[in-house]
Symmetry: C2
Subunit: 197 residues, 2 copies
DNA sequence: CCTTCAGGTTAACGACCGCTAACCTCCCTG
DNA sequence: CAGGGAGGTTAGCGGTCGTTAACCTGAAGG
């Protein structure tokens, strides 16, 4: 995978700032003029890059869901010979990386879904469900006593735990990224373990 | 404590419906006309009961924060002779009850705080912080190896876990309220346990 | 029986917001 | 060196939203 070193395109700048603003004040709470100002152009200039405000949100949410699912599938495929427990650790690690590195997106992901057009919302929900079911399968392999509904509830709850990073204080105030990642990982495993007896 | 049997006042009806709507579509996504319609009166009629839309949100958020803190203090006082572990279980139980019974409020609680007037926001934040610090104290008593910042992170994460109930499917789809409460409780204890080694 | 007032109603105002129209200005390319 | 498209600009339209104003009504109280 070629790591990007080139400058971000204007579209990417806009998406990044829009994500931050949407997460801070909600989709309806942010005006197009503000998004424009955040990237140094003025309101209507955005329409050279996006069909509308809705399109920005849609692209953000679809992108997040795809990225999460793609990463999980890759981890599942890569760790083919490993134990189920190792795969679960890999999934947790991937989700934590995402939660710590893209906090605004994590916030949007479960907050602004209802603002999407029907077709986009369906797509996002489908991707999210696939992601959840992938976790459920691995979790049930590690803890075979769990019924499927219980495992699904447990997975959602652990997502709540991992996605709590936006509430852990401003970016710099954490005990350090690595320390936080380890703590979250241990707590997630502990939570699953307690769910599975 | 006298259990209420009398009919809810109009103010209470309004607050309840406003909470539901705000949680569903966000503060800015709901119009006063909709809130009015939800209680059978029309938009401007609300102004006989509240100074404005902001005032409804403020009353909701302050009310939630006060209720959570009051409940926690009561539990701490009641279980005076008990072990720290029992107190922690009581706190977890109280938070779960709240999360399961007032799902819209839980959603609002950490989502719409920034829409408040400065003074209200300060008040809510102060109440929230007191609630967190109360938990941190108990958690550190149960797990003395935890540093204060780590314990605080752990508490926030467990809140994320417990507050995930809105994502667990529509009200009836859960495996049953009691079962869910027990599962959440075990996972919360498991997460704290893993954090404290 | 008249008054008062709580709790509604509809009409309308002013602000804001998403979006379009019309226009401008580089820079690349044949 | 034309010219054309990419990527901006400002002005302004249409709709929505929170709020206020003015008015109505039914029930309680002296």
């Amino acid at each position: 995978m070629a790591t990007r070193t080139d400058a971000p395109t204007r579209r990417e700048q806009i998406l990044k700032e829009a994500a931050r603003l949407f997460a801070e004040r909600g989709f309806h709470g942010v005006g197009v003029d503000e998004i424009g100002a955040a990237v140094g152009i003025s309101g209507p200039g955005l329409y050279r890059h996006f069909a509308g405000k809705d399109a920005m949100l849609a692209e953000l949410l679809v992108g997040i869901s795809e990225q999460l699912l793609r990463g999980a599938k890759r981890r599942l495929a890569e760790a083919d010979g490993s134990s189920a427990a190792d795969v679960l650790d890999s999934l947790i690690e991937g989700h934590i990386d995402f939660a710590l590195d893209d906090r605004p997106l994590i916030t949007l992901h479960d907050r602004e879904l209802d603002r999407l057009r029907d077709s986009d919302r369906k797509l996002v929900r489908q991707l999210q469900r696939q992601y959840v079911e992938l976790w459920v399968g691995v979790v049930r392999e590690v803890y075979p006593t769990l019924t499927e509904p219980t495992a699904r509830s447990a997975v959602h709850s652990v997502f709540g735990l991992l996605n709590s990073t936006p509430h852990l204080g401003r970016p710099g105030a954490l005990p350090g990224r690595g320390v936080t990642a380890v703590l979250l990982h241990r707590m997630a495993r502990g939570a699953f373990g307690a769910a599975g007896e």
